[in-house]
């Protein structure tokens, strides 16, 4: 019997995608017993959801600093569970939480995290084999995970969640552990842009260094408005201060998977593509025919955005109104 522990996450008061994807990954690896840890206020419903999603056992933390998202205690709690149930594999996600919790949990258990896995399977010897991008996405590595336990984090949105089965049942228990916070959150400052969130948008209009300045993003806002989408950006545009860093799409920014991604004045560096290559249709507008973005786009227009975009917007107005 192989046991898995999924370090689950809550998102806006509900069971987060990371949890569903983690459980699905454990099932792909044929784990016969899947335990899930989740932390947050009022998580009874989420715990039940985790069971319907495939968990056999859920450990909850419903109060204290871990429930408020303090990393130190999430690690203390997950370490305690790992010591208690001795899983063969521990699965987390490369989210803002997982980036901190997963590596430190692994080190504390005397092993090392295999980060950013996109797919996983077992080989003939039952070893866990993962594929993960390296060199910003220019090279994929296949790695045999031979640590004990195996600790991996998944790249968000790379594994499909399973459907819910309401007939499943399992144990739900609150965990007790000793709190020890050394890095404390003093204040959170939200900088949410209005309208549809970048990650949920069905259409994303993204701009890069080729836009030349912040003003151009007004046209992108207009375009996103017509298409009912959100505006994103490359790191270069964020670093230049044209848009806030929350607009950044890519390896170290947001991962989006819209139906339509329109990249304007973006060269298509692998680190940018890491955040948008799941888009169903990618459209590129770039004045350099040799730009890498054209190798990854379904439709392309070679041209100066200042000429292409106004006409594109005009035509869209005609089609959509």
């Amino acid at each position: 019997m192989t046991k898995a522990l999924v370090i689950g996450e809550m998102l806006n008061g509900e069971l987060g995608a990371a949890t569903f994807e983690g459980i699905a990954a454990a099932r792909i690896l044929d784990c016969s017993n899947v335990a899930v840890m989740i932390a947050g206020a009022s998580i009874e419903l989420a715990a039940e959801q985790a069971i319907f999603a495939g968990a056999d056992q859920v450990f909850t933390i419903s109060q204290g600093p871990a429930a408020d998202g303090e990393f130190d205690d999430l690690i203390n709690a997950s370490y305690k569970i790992a010591k208690e149930i001795e899983p063969e594999i521990i699965i987390g996600s490369k989210t803002i939480i997982g980036r901190d919790v997963m590596p430190r949990l692994a080190f504390r258990l005397g092993t090392i995290l295999v980060p950013d896995c996109m797919s996983l399977e077992r080989d003939a010897e039952q070893r866990i084999i993962v594929t993960r991008p390296t060199y910003g996405g220019n090279v994929n590595a296949r790695i045999a995970c031979v640590g004990q336990p195996v600790v991996i984090s998944l790249r968000p949105k790379s594994i499909d969640a399973m459907g819910l089965d309401q007939s499943r049942s399992g144990a739900i228990n609150e965990i007790e552990f000793t709190s020890n916070i050394r890095t404390r959150i003093i204040e959170k400052i939200e900088e949410k842009s209005e309208g549809i969130s970048l990650q949920d948008a069905k259409t994303v209009v993204a701009g890069g260094r080729g836009l030349g300045g912040p003003e151009a993003f007004d046209s992108l806002q207009e375009l996103a408005g017509i298409l009912g989408g959100a505006v994103g950006a490359s790191r270069a545009a964020c670093d230049a201060g044209w848009v806030p860093s929350s607009f950044q799409v890519g390896l170290t920014g947001k991962t989006v998977s819209p139906d339509l991604y329109i990249a304007i004045g973006i060269s298509g560096a692998s680190q940018h593509m890491a955040g948008c290559s799941n888009a169903k249709t990618l459209v590129a507008i770039n004045k350099d025919e040799g730009a890498n973005i054209f190798k990854e786009a379904r439709f392309g227009v070679k041209g100066d955005w200042e000429k292409v975009i106004p006409a594109f917007i005009e035509q869209l107005h005609e089609l959509i109104n």
Partner: protein, 265 residues
């Protein structure tokens, strides 16, 4: 009292190298020699963060620490030209092409212990070769020091460090006590360019070199948790349709029509 900051810095393949120039040979990623290595971008920002602390506090010593099998001296000396005080290279063939970074983490941790009076370690959030984001976390766990990651601003006030951490939609302020490990992100701002005085000064500083035997680490290769099976370039199999028009504006209009035709909009 002097604040001693260690900045960890890795020499990496230039991430701006075009995709086509990445080569895979004997399960190792290389580029042709026409692409010079660089210091990992986030590590230059870590140096910048340390220099800003030095400007704010005055009595600060900055030691740059790098681990590898071979170094391009003019590249790895750049932090000195920017204003760091010392450079220690952990140089040994044992560090060549490691997939599992455990040994590098042990070596860097031992070096920090050997230096002795370190108050703060500043690292990049991840190295642009393997994008692991593991090494600083490992150092922190081995030293049993607190961590704050993805910083865009660091303030040291006595024994306390205040860090602004970048979040997906905003930021948060976290606080911890020294000694601590902090990783920085690009939101910190551009690293400064070395000036002439810095470049001349750096020429005179000889790096200290420690080999693995100088570090007293106990390490068995059986501790490895990752074994490389293969490296592959991802296959992109998309056919791009370039929309043509009488001019650029016309192509823009045709793009809208084509997207409607395909029922994408």
């Amino acid at each position: 009292m002097t604040l001693h900051i260690v900045v960890t810095a890795k020499q990496v393949v230039d991430p701006e190298t075009p995709t086509s120039a990445f080569l895979i040979e004997n399960n190792k990623v290389t580029t042709s020699t026409s692409f010079a290595p660089v210091i990992n971008g986030y590590d230059e920002q870590a140096v910048e963060a340390a220099l800003r602390i030095k400007e704010a506090l005055g009595d600060v010593v900055i030691t740059v620490l790098s681990c590898g099998s071979s170094f391009a001296l003019d590249v790895i000396k750049k932090p000195l030209a920017m204003g760091a005080d010392n450079l220690i290279l952990l140089q040994d063939n044992a560090f060549d092409n490691l997939i599992d970074p455990t040994l590098v983490i042990r070596a860097l941790t031992s070096a920090i212990q050997k230096i002795g009076d370190v108050d703060l370690v500043i690292s990049g959030r991840q190295a642009s070769d393997w994008d692991n984001a593991l090494v600083p976390m490992g150092i922190a766990e081995l030293l049993d020091w607190p961590v704050a990651t993805i910083a865009r601003k660091i303030d040291v006030i006595g024994n306390t460090v205040k860090v602004e951490r970048v979040l997906p939609d905003g930021y948060e302020i976290v606080e911890t006590t020294l000694p601590a490990v902090i990783t920085v992100s690009n939101e910190l701002g551009s690293p400064r360019y070395p000036n002439m005085r810095g470049i001349m000064g750096a020429r005179k500083i000889q790096p200290t070199i420690w080999e693995i035997n100088d570090l007293g680490i106990e390490y068995q290769s059986t501790e490895i948790a990752m074994e490389l099976i293969s490296l592959e370039k991802p296959i992109k199999s998309i056919e791009t349709e370039l929309i043509q028009g009488e001019d650029e504006a016309d192509a823009g209009r045709k793009l809208a029509l084509r997207l409607r035709e395909e029922r994408i909009i």
